[in-house]
């Protein structure tokens, strides 16, 4: 019984991690209708920059994460600069290939800089453990849950209650009409890409301490993000939170009760099942407001 409870707790933590990792792509997909298959490598880079700033440059953890976010935002801006034409033309095939290629470039650059050996991002919060009977949780786990909840509530508020959020929703619904409203659509696209880069770097800084990090990682992250985003309903902020947490609990229970080796396959089966039953996913897209 306590084992099952522990698995559910793990699932909740992993689920919030999934949701946190997916948030940038959710907005990207909802607003610019873009996919980013370099997302996983951006996660990897976020983890390594945090590790470098923390373990090598000796900065405190709370300062290392924002530095990694800054690097992530710059990478997002560069990506958007390169893909702007394809973004405006909604050339999805080009964008898929370009982002996939960009991911490999990031992998190569990271391997050159950080080497190919695994590292451990040993944050002060990972050392703090809370125990209750046989159940346990680290402060890092709690921070992941808290950060995910705050970011999702914050993003929802930003989108639905601020002027900038309204502009983003206008561009999401109809970028051409947004131009006629005097909106600099290009700037909104840049903003969304910078957010994607910073958000995935932040997620990496929070989530990567749970496992050893390698410059070759990224595939699992991009696949799970893809599942979360599609499950949640393309571009829905609230939907991807629910989908992330749900998927975390599902994979964690599946790994414990069935077999850990097949969790990715099981996640995809779940995705297919949900798409058959609810073709638009669990939520609606950003443009329709996450009401």
């Amino acid at each position: 019984m306590s084992n099952l409870l522990q698995q559910i707790i793990n699932g909740i933590v992993i689920g919030h991690a999934y949701a946190l990792v997916a948030i940038g792509w959710t907005l990207l997909l909802g607003v610019a209708r873009l996919v980013n298959f370099g997302h996983g490598q951006m996660y990897m880079l976020g983890a390594f920059v945090t590790w470098w700033a923390f373990a090598k440059a000796g900065m405190p953890y709370w300062a290392a994460v924002p530095i990694s976010m800054g690097v992530g935002a710059i990478i997002g801006l560069i990506m958007q600069k390169v893909m702007l034409r394809a973004t405006f033309d909604q050339n999805l095939v080009s964008i898929m290939i370009m982002t996939l290629g960009f991911g490999y470039v990031l992998h190569g650059v990271a391997a050159l800089i950080f080497g190919s050996t695994g590292q451990v991002l040993d944050t002060p919060w990972s050392q703090i453990e809370f125990e209750y009977g046989e159940l346990w949780l680290t402060a890092q786990d709690l921070a992941i849950i808290l950060a995910a909840v705050i970011i999702f509530i914050g993003l929802n508020w930003l989108l639905n209650s601020t002027r900038y959020g309204r502009l983003v929703r206008m561009v999401a619904e109809d970028p051409k009409l947004a131009q006629l409203a005097g909106i600099n659509v290009r700037r909104i696209y840049f903003g969304v890409f910078a957010f994607e880069g910073a958000a995935v770097a932040f997620a990496a800084g929070m989530v990567a301490p749970r496992t050893p990090i390698l410059t070759s990682m990224g595939f699992d992250e991009v696949i799970m993000t893809f599942v979360v985003v599609v499950l949640g309903g393309i571009g829905s902020v609230r939907g991807s939170y629910i989908a992330g947490v749900g998927l975390g609990i599902f994979t964690s229970l599946f790994a414990a009760l069935v077999a850990p080796a097949y969790t990715t396959a099981a996640a995809f089966l779940l995705l297919i099942a949900v798409l058959v039953i609810r073709p638009k996913g669990l939520g609606a897209k950003v443009g329709s407001g996450a009401h």
């Binding site: 309204r166 206008m170 619904e173 109809d174 009409l177 006629l180 409203a181 005097g182 909106i183």
Partner: protein, 247 residues
């Protein structure tokens, strides 16, 4: 306002060409709209009416290539992107999707930028728009998608008025509306024109256009083939035969 600025046409176009993948859709040598003037652009389907007004903003739902000189109040707009042309007061209520359907009426009536240089233009507040279209006030909490065609047209015009038009361009505002709503939209245009607003009206319905415009321009295959005052054009056999269905 200087006397010279009163003489400058609010819109002046030279040698405007709009192409879609190489095909010339608009080829207008010269077109002017005077301050406070209401000019109608009429012509058959596919004559290039929409391409003309869209081209003035270097805007298109497709991929259009636009060349030529466009001046608003004497200022050359050529190298300025669409959203900046909008901010400088060249406003378009496009045909088709003209409002944000997933935003409420209230949100649709919120401007997306701060006006810096307002010159002589009137910038409508949301309440001004509600005074002009009381129906919108009743429906202010509804989403754009819940509005009827006529209400969408009102909302589109209201949105444009709040951005401070120097020239308001309307692309087929009467399309798909019931006759009573058409006359209501035309009535609104007359009210705005009387208040001094310059308007460029694209209409397929020539009779409707003639009831509001000062001057009418006839477009065929992207070229201006005839223009004149409303009275002249109404009495022209060519217009009467081809567009009014009378002899």
């Amino acid at each position: 306002m200087t006397s010279s600025s009163q003489l400058t046409p609010v819109l002046s176009v030279q040698n405007l060409k709009v192409r879609y993948s190489g095909n010339l859709a608009v080829d207008v040598q010269s077109l002017e709209v005077g301050r406070g003037e209401v000019v109608g652009v009429v012509g058959a389907n596919g004559a290039g009416k929409s391409s003309l007004v869209n081209g003035l903003l270097d805007w298109s739902r497709g991929v259009a290539q636009v060349t030529g000189n466009v001046r608003l109040d004497g200022a050359l707009l050529d190298s300025i992107p669409t959203h900046q042309r909008i901010r400088s007061g060249l406003l378009l209520v496009p045909e088709g999707r003209l409002i944000f359907s997933q935003l409420s009426v209230h949100e649709n009536l919120t401007t997306s930028f701060d006006q810096v240089n307002t010159d002589y233009r009137r910038i409508y507040s949301r309440d001004d728009v509600y005074d002009l279209f009381p129906r919108l006030k009743e429906r202010r909490h509804h989403l754009g998608s819940q509005l009827s065609g006529g209400e969408r047209q009102m909302l589109g015009i209201g949105r444009a008025l709040m951005m401070g038009p120097k020239l308001l361009m309307l692309d087929e505002p009467s399309i798909g509306l019931a006759p009573m709503l058409v006359s209501q939209v035309l009535q609104t245009m007359k009210t705005l024109a009387r208040a001094g607003l310059s308007i460029l009206l694209v209409e397929q319905n020539v009779r409707a256009a003639l009831s509001v415009v000062d001057r009418l321009v006839l477009l065929e295959r992207g070229r201006i083939v005839m223009q004149g005052s409303a009275v002249e054009m109404e009495n022209s056999p060519r217009i009467a035969e081809a567009y009014l269905g009378t002899h």
